[in-house]
Assembly symmetry: C2
Homo-oligomer: 648 residues x 2
């Protein structure tokens, strides 16, 4: 038996059961600026000797690690936190090593307590200092060596166990036998990734002439109204030239009339492609002016990015190799057999010329970033290459870390989760189809307490241009308020599609689609039409801004309510000072009342103590005692209530 | 923007949430010969096109993978199984790729069903065959091309969708866009790793003369008795020469008399070290003869491997660099401050000469394998290097895959689990200190249904030479029977320390230790002393052998019993044909009775149907109906009962 088979002696310390990490480090986790990154790991070694353990972190690309000593909690589990102060990617890991000096301190302590002779131990302790000095030449260690050279045992031991020497020894510790966990990555997004209210603006419908498209200048006129409702983001549909070939007519019919504007998702014509502005909307200059106007109102612009082309898109002639062609020489349009989408052709992400194709799409995004856009709502990302998105988002965020990508995928759970894992900042969700109390609890607990909390930020929309859910078909004011309240309080980032404030609801019969959708025709609205819920929207957004609890997602917790129709939940701010509770009547048709349960013990209020419940939607204040609180929620009056509790 | 930043286009298929794997593949999982390795993974791609997915496995070291097509279960989750037929290490992984042909078949089917024209589709299908032929030159594909060249559309489509062509296309599929999961490893041990009954024999106590050590020849005389009780493994304490320096006297006292034999764990004297046999026991030839005698009785030998030395061990003179020395030139003996173990010195696994040291210990193991030993019970492995064990066990099993290593660690949970992860075949456990019903349920569910089931095999011992648990101090026959019954039925591998059958129990007052332990003195016993429980042991081992359910560990499930003192559980054989239920009175002092709940629906017996309960310990048969069954368990008569159910 020779030593040939033997490769290497690893350090004695094991680091495992590391938290947080995603798929063994395959994907980064996500946090936001201002978060503390709490890291946990099981750290232990063979035998009984002491170990030391640090959390290391740095901004990706920097050389030097910052170290935070980890604290042993129990059962070989250690923890420490790193402050994430910048909007960038960080790296983090755990390093641990045998600590001979700490072992010596501990053993000598036990021997002294048992009254044993420690003459040899004193010398052994001094040898540890000698070894450290020989290795590091730290002059402070030399001082210790001189002081302990001829001292009597008791004095030597006392000196060697002194905290100052402990500090010196820690600073000069031998890490040659270190174990280091594989480096993990965390994407630290800006706060707006987690907290924002979006207004989805169909730009060509913002005018007053029903025979033509509105312009960006007309859109600007709408901004005071939107800002007044309290929105942070104005999200625009694709503003590019629209193809003529196979253009869709009203209600998605196959043959458009000559005056029909077509779907803004059939992108590209001889007037340009994804880097162009539809002439009916104005010029690129007008677009930039609109972005600036939004900023003046304290809002920013989100742009719809739909990677697909009309048959008239310039790419088709310039880069025929980016598309699939059929044996008869025609281009392969989009299909979901037996459905056909003749006004759309998809690019082939796996084309032989994929490098140029991928770079071109990256270029498109960078182009709009230059125009002042920092948020992209990506249409159907799951029908494009996962690898493309992972690469593209990383590339964009390397130079523009403030960029936010929202994945518009309504598909299978694993696919939606993968988009979030690979880099999308936010995700559309199944919220629109969740109605029962148990569905909300199950889904929101998964999102806020399950593994998705590490990488997936839900952006809740009660409706979209494509989804007019059954629950809104009645057009009941209470139903619209209730669904908006849920979106705005269950998630910390949510969106409203224009027209929602006007209770627009008429469906294509039997379908979850809007009749006469503005996707296929010109439309003008009276934005102050009677019965609008703009004051309700405004109040909700006001309360969201005023209450730090509602800026949070992961602090959501469900509490008891003794009625299947009433959902009761709460959130707290990071510092715990702001606590908000919400009771929602999920039934849009009938009033319901019940007791809900305030966790008074968490608020430091005794069961017999008087306290004040502020009803934030109604403005009432109620003096009461005891953790069970009566609520009555009437759909057409107050479908949902928000509570803040104050000590008397 | 250039293509420079763009590295590589990955295949479109994602493979994740892979099962089974341990710590992201850092350690192998464990199975036994005859197992089917069930593999699960989430497998999906962007878009809507079809994928194909296989499980691949091979014996480690072989080049060629064996492939099993995976089956889609639901929600993007796929599964397949690999039969593990050999006692060796296997590798396994999942490979998946886009399947253009399957996509074509599916799409064309939908279009045909919708009555659409598929002329172009027929040509596209044919082009797929053409592409496959151009790539593979498979002549069968050429035949298809000729057949479909001029045929009318309907005929072409029918032929191209034919199962024969599907088979051809699968065989010739293009895997250039495959995704492959990282390769994982499974250690396939022989059945005895999971199912065996061990008898711990203190070899020098097997004789008749209390003034001297028994010899291996005398030990052989004991074998018929042990085999008759139904044991499979005879486990010997270290049989090596014992040091004289600081030898321990009776009851672990510090000064041994001249005739005291010393602890067999103080290994090494001028008569030899870890490769030598204590002259009092006989010669190496005698040892080999003993091993052969065990084989003749259908048993094998497990050897105690204690990597530690007496101060007289030859290694100390031959390899002083393998040990730690103190400033006064004395050797550093073992300590656990303030406790001192002057009769033991530990080797330094992190010595500069570690390669030679590690190889020497590997050599010791290989030496005993040459003498016929295939099982090693390793003393205190957690105080040696984890990396050493991982390397050493892998080295041994590469050439001797039948070798079993049992880790004797009673330490913190993470440390014990790590030893199992890094390669130990079996583990001592906390069984000896589990007494309450909830403790058994919690601990056994963790071991048999939690992650440890993938890597940790518990070997349950009711007592050891070092552990005389309080519950046995009364010496009550019922207590001994109850604890043995639990060990033999909760786990599939268990052990009994000699003397247990004689109810030996007198403790060092107040401690969980045996008084006058044979570890420090000569001892002879009357192995047929009145009151022995040998018939009970024999019956237990008989029932274990007869009932395949008791060969299993992971099929353990707890069932209801309406009494906190009665633990009720069952196991089933792999094929489900053999089902065993056990009811144990955990209280050694008082009778308890209650209803226990048979899961009749799993046995295909109706709630109103008559069935027979065989009581296997008592031999009674009871005709009854209904899933609730009355049991009464009296400690001194039948502390536990085993049931088998038969349809009438």
């Amino acid at each position: 038996m020779t030593g040939q088979r033997l490769q290497t002696a690893a350090g004695p310390v094991i680091i495992e059961d590391f938290y947080p990490e995603l798929d063994a480090g395959r994907y980064p986790i996500k946090r936001e600026v201002g978060d503390d990154l709490e890291v946990w790991a099981d750290v232990f070694r063979d035998g009984h000797d002491a170990i030391a353990c640090v959390l290391k972190y740095r901004i990706k690309g920097k050389r030097k690690w910052i170290e935070v000593p980890m604290r042993h909690v129990a059962n070989d589990r250690w923890t420490a936190s790193a402050p994430l102060t910048e909007n960038t990617r960080y790296e983090y890991t755990v390093e641990a090593w045998p600590d001979e000096y700490a072992t010596w301190v501990s053993d000598v302590g036990k021997k002294l307590a048992a009254g044993q002779d420690v003459t040899l131990e004193a010398e052994e302790g001094r040898l540890l200092v000698e070894e450290a000095y020989a290795r590091t030449k730290d002059p402070s260690l030399e001082t210790v060596l001189i002081q302990t050279k001829v001292a009597p045992t008791e004095e030597r031991i006392a000196l060697l166990r002194d905290e100052a020497v402990a500090g010196l020894m820690a600073r000069n510790v031998d890490r040659s036998m270190s174990s280091v966990y594989p480096v993990r990555e965390v994407v630290v997004d800006r706060i707006e990734a987690r907290f924002a209210a979006w207004y989805e603006m169909f730009q060509r419908s913002q005018g007053t002439d029903p025979t033509r498209s509105a312009t960006f200048r007309e859109c600007e006129a709408r901004l005071p109204d939107i800002a007044d409702m309290g929105f942070d983001v104005v999200y625009l549909l694709p503003p590019h030239p629209i193809g003529k070939t196979h253009r869709k007519g009203p209600n998605n019919t196959l043959n458009a009339g000559p005056d029909d504007p077509g779907s803004p998702y059939a992108i590209g014509s001889e007037e340009g492609g994804h880097k162009a502005i539809h002439p009916d909307l104005g010029t690129l200059e007008d677009f930039r002016h609109f972005v600036g106007a939004c900023h003046e109102h304290g809002m920013e612009v989100a742009l719809d990015l739909a990677i697909q082309c009309s048959p008239d898109h310039p790419y088709i002639k310039e880069h025929p190799e980016w598309f699939k062609w059929r044996p008869d020489g025609t281009i392969k349009y989009a299909e979901n057999p037996p459905k056909k989408y003749q006004d759309i052709v998809n690019v082939d992400f796996y084309t032989k010329d994929w490098k140029n194709l991928w770079n071109e799409w990256l270029d498109v995004i960078l182009f709009w970033i230059e125009q002042g856009v920092k948020i992209f709502r990506v249409d159907n990302p799951h029908t494009k290459s996962f690898a493309f998105w992972e690469w593209c988002i990383r590339e964009v965020q390397r130079e523009h870390p403030e960029t936010i990508f929202l994945a518009e995928a309504f598909t299978r759970p694993k696919v939606m989760k993968n988009l979030a894992k690979l880099g999308f900042t936010q995700s559309y969700t199944y919220f629109t189809w969740r109605h029962a109390k148990w569905e909300f609890i199950e889904y929101l607990e998964e999102l806020t307490q399950g593994e998705p909390r590490e990488y997936m930020r839900p952006n809740f929309f009660p409706s979209t241009p494509d989804i007019n859910p059954y629950i809104l078909h009645s057009g009941k004011r209470g139903a619209f308020q209730m669904r908006l309240f849920l979106a705005a309080t269950l998630s910390s980032v949510y969106g409203m599609y224009n027209g929602y404030e006007l209770l627009e609801h008429v469906p294509v019969p039997g379908k979850e689609e809007l009749l006469n959708s503005e996707k296929y025709e010109y439309k003008v609205r009276d934005w102050d039409a009677p019965g609008n819920i703009k004051p309700y929207v405004k109040r909700l957004n006001e309360l969201r801004r005023q209450n730090a609890a509602l800026h949070e997602l992961k602090t959501l917790r469900f509490h008891e309510a003794h009625d299947e129709n009433i959902l009761f939940y709460g959130k707290s701010s990071r510092d715990g000072h702001n606590r908000i509770f919400c009771a929602v009547n999920l039934d849009p048709d009938w009033p319901h009342d019940t007791h809900v349960h305030f966790p008074l013990w968490e608020l430091g209020i005794g069961e017999d103590e008087e306290y004040v419940v502020e009803e934030l939607m109604s403005g009432r204040e109620i003096y009461t005692r005891g953790s069970w609180f009566w609520v009555r929620l009437v759909p057409e009056e107050n479908p949902a209530e928000m509570f803040r509790i104050r000590k008397v």
